[in-house]
Amino acid sequence: MTPLAGTLLAVDPVPWARSQMAFTLAAHIVLVPLGVAWAFMALVANWRAIKRDDRDALLLAQRWAKYMAVTFAVGAVTGTVLSFEFGLLWPTFMGRFGAAFGIPFAIEGLFFFLEAIFIAIYIYGWKRMQPWHHFWSGVPIVVAGIGGTVSVIAANAWMNEPSGFTLDSAGKVTQVEPLSVIFNKAMPYQALHMTVAAYLVGGFLIASVYAAGMLKGRTDRYHRLGFLIPFTVAVVAAPLQMITGDALARFVYSNEPAKFASIELVPKTSSDVPETLFGHLDADGTVSGGIRIPGMASWLSDPRTGTATVVTGRNAFASDDQPTVAEANVVHLAWDVMIGIGTLLTLLAVWYAISWVVRRDMPRSRLFLRIAAGAGILSIVALEAGWVVTEVGRQPWIVHEYLRVKDAATTNGGVWITFCVVCAVYLAVGTTLILVLRRMSRRWREQRGEEESDVPYGPRPPLPAPVPGDEVPIG
């Protein structure tokens, strides 16, 4: 090997492996809510279309199916990259714990298969299938989406709360209890929180597009329906998410105290711990800045004992067994961002609900639409922040108290190169995805008002003869 190549391939792989995993996960997680929740919303529109012979709902369901075809394809391939990366970036982790960690993924594979099969049938079945057959072909997508989410999150929860395996003296997994692996202690809390998150983000994200359209004066029934269906889903999910989040937080307080100490920025174990909004942990272990609400962190951790609740602080853990000061600050900031946005979105949901109860209609104010138009991006930020809390909060462990991230990583010194290439490819794919979706929407808008010549669920049109120069000779 030439000296130059030797230098290029001798960079410490650990930070780059972490960065690449974080980046590819952060990109994939945006597509997850679309894959999981969009099919449900399309089916709501589809149901309405068939039941009430609603042309607007039908058009909406069809177009959503076409967008889904694109986002699902990108989600499927970016998800595949993650499967490769488990091995490429974390070979020691997989080599040592694959026998346990892999089990939830085997189940996830099953759901992914179902999802891929039925999404194809649903997307391509509009023309020739019986309306109700076609509708029901979409139902497995919803079920598989939830099942897949729960399985993947079970694997992640296992990293936080590893259980269901026995190690020998050499650290090799000798016995596995599959059910204890899947149903580890953290799994129900995390799985519920992420599933609701998928519907919350999916709902706000899709509704935000139509809210923006309404702000531009597109207030026809089609846009209204495009807003109401996903927004209603999100409005139901938002308060639920506060409840699942609260349960998860209390679980973390009881079971993952090191993570909790970083979340709440608690330097020393004590009672009457204040809730610090923003603020900063300094290298000497003191907290500076931010707004303090006295006793609030203790009270929230366990309302039964109130401000007398003792919260374990960072001083209870060896410094190399918990997040570093910098990581703790990231965890805390991400936590504040998640809670802040979650609260805002819940207030938005309350506004919408009150308006429906009082006036039997959505709020008319432009301010409401403006916030709703921003809620999509905000909910994605909250999703990413929540994921940062759980992942960075577990540092320095990849399998909590069994394997450290630095020991799990690949020894290949060229990871920084793949990181750069992956970033470039993903940025290109992500930008193109947004452009393509916008292009589709613009094209449909321009043709609106023209006759929809192609009737779905209609009589089967004759197959055109293959004319040279004809683009796609299909029915």
Partner: protein
């Protein structure tokens, strides 16, 4: 029980080769279809043919990865450590293939379609090459056991890996052409039947020549595999050769209905033959299947999941293929007049 799981793994590998492989092969024909005018009809057929099924077929890859890392995790760690480069290229190729294909279907301006199409088609060649090279590296014993990395470059740039890569690309192209002949016939496009029949014949001959040359490469470079292929896997090699010749004959006679199962048989037999030839090793001559196997309960879980897949997934896949082959699955509505409205849309 580890042997049973190894069978399940190879079931997945074979399914991926036969179904996923054909989708990559379709990308190969897309790549060599010529300019926008000349290549329009073959490309449209490729689009129509793989559109509804490629994602489901792709899941077999996930299936193989998951079974490998769950049931044989030490082998997975060794493979990913050693074959970092071709696996990374394959992963990126998969992203570009999938998104390129989806984007091309969703835009209608010729210039854009050409760009996304080029990405889709070229990565459709890159991915099977990398996969074949990885298979060659494993089969020739270049992946050491014990969680240490083998050579970064020579592990996948060697005669057997190059053979594996080239063979994978040609076999994918062959399968795809045979399937496309069938699909063209189904859609009553006579010219496309002739177009892809000629290419299928060509690809079959090339794949046969590569496989024949491969015998000498393996003799010189991968003695364990060669020995296996000429002893316990010999019946499979013969079946593969006979099926290959049979499909060639059917193509020549115009009996396309029979060419397809024979082509599937030829490819499936050679993939299974690879597995039988390197038995009992997962990494030839360093790591046996039984040594690499996870604890019994994990293997049992994999088998339970596979049984569930047999009950749930296989009928669903069957439904998808039947609907597809009966032309029930069509481009979503409203597309037909959009396609005519190119100028207005852009």
């Amino acid at each position: 029980m580890s042997a049973l799981v190894a069978v399940v793994l190879f079931f997945g590998v074979t399914a991926y080769a036969v179904f996923g492989g054909a989708d990559f092969g379709a990308g190969f024909w897309d790549l060599v279809a010529g300019g926008a005018g000349r290549g329009q009809r073959p490309r449209a057929l490729v689009d129509h043919s793989i559109g509804p099924v490629w994602e489901a077929n792709h899941v077999w890859l996930i299936f193989c990865l998951v079974v490998l890392w769950t049931a044989f995790s030490p082998a997975f760690a060794s493979i990913t450590l050693t074959l970092f480069v071709p696996l990374t290229l394959a992963a990126l190729g998969i992203v570009l293939r999938g998104s390129g294909f989806a984007f091309r279907k969703s835009v209608f301006a010729t210039r854009e379609r050409r760009g996304y199409g080029a990405v889709f088609a070229s990565s459709s060649v890159l991915v099977p090459y990398c996969m074949g090279a990885v298979a060659g590296a494993i089969a020739s014993g270049r992946v050491p056991a014990g969680g240490v990395a083998g050579d970064w470059w020579s592990s996948w740039m060697n005669p057997t890996s190059i053979l594996g890569g080239v063979l994978a690309v040609t076999v994918c192209a062959y399968l795809a052409a045979v399937y496309l002949v069938h699909d063209a016939g189904r859609l009553d496009q006579r010219d496309m039947v002739r177009y892809f029949a000629a290419r299928a014949t060509c690809a079959a001959v090339v794949a046969g020549v590569v496989a024949f040359a491969g015998v000498f490469v393996l003799y010189a470079d991968a003695s364990y595999l060669f020995h296996g292929l000429t002893s316990r896997a010999l019946p499979l090699v013969i079946v593969s050769a006979l099926c290959g010749l049979g499909s060639l004959w059917m193509l020549a006679r115009g009996a396309y209905r029979f060419a397809r199962p024979l082509a599937i048989g030829a490819v499936a037999a050679v993939v299974v033959g690879w597995g039988v030839a390197q038995w009992p090793y997962v990494l030839p001559e360093t790591l046996k299947v039984a040594q690499a196997a996870a604890p019994t309960a994990t293997l049992a879980s994999v088998l339970v999941v596979f049984a569930a897949a047999a009950v749930l997934i296989l009928p669903s896949l069957g439904l998808l293929y039947v609907l597809d082959q009966r032309s029930v699955l069509q481009e979503p509505p409203a597309d037909a007049h959009e396609r005519g409205g190119d100028a207005r849309a852009v």
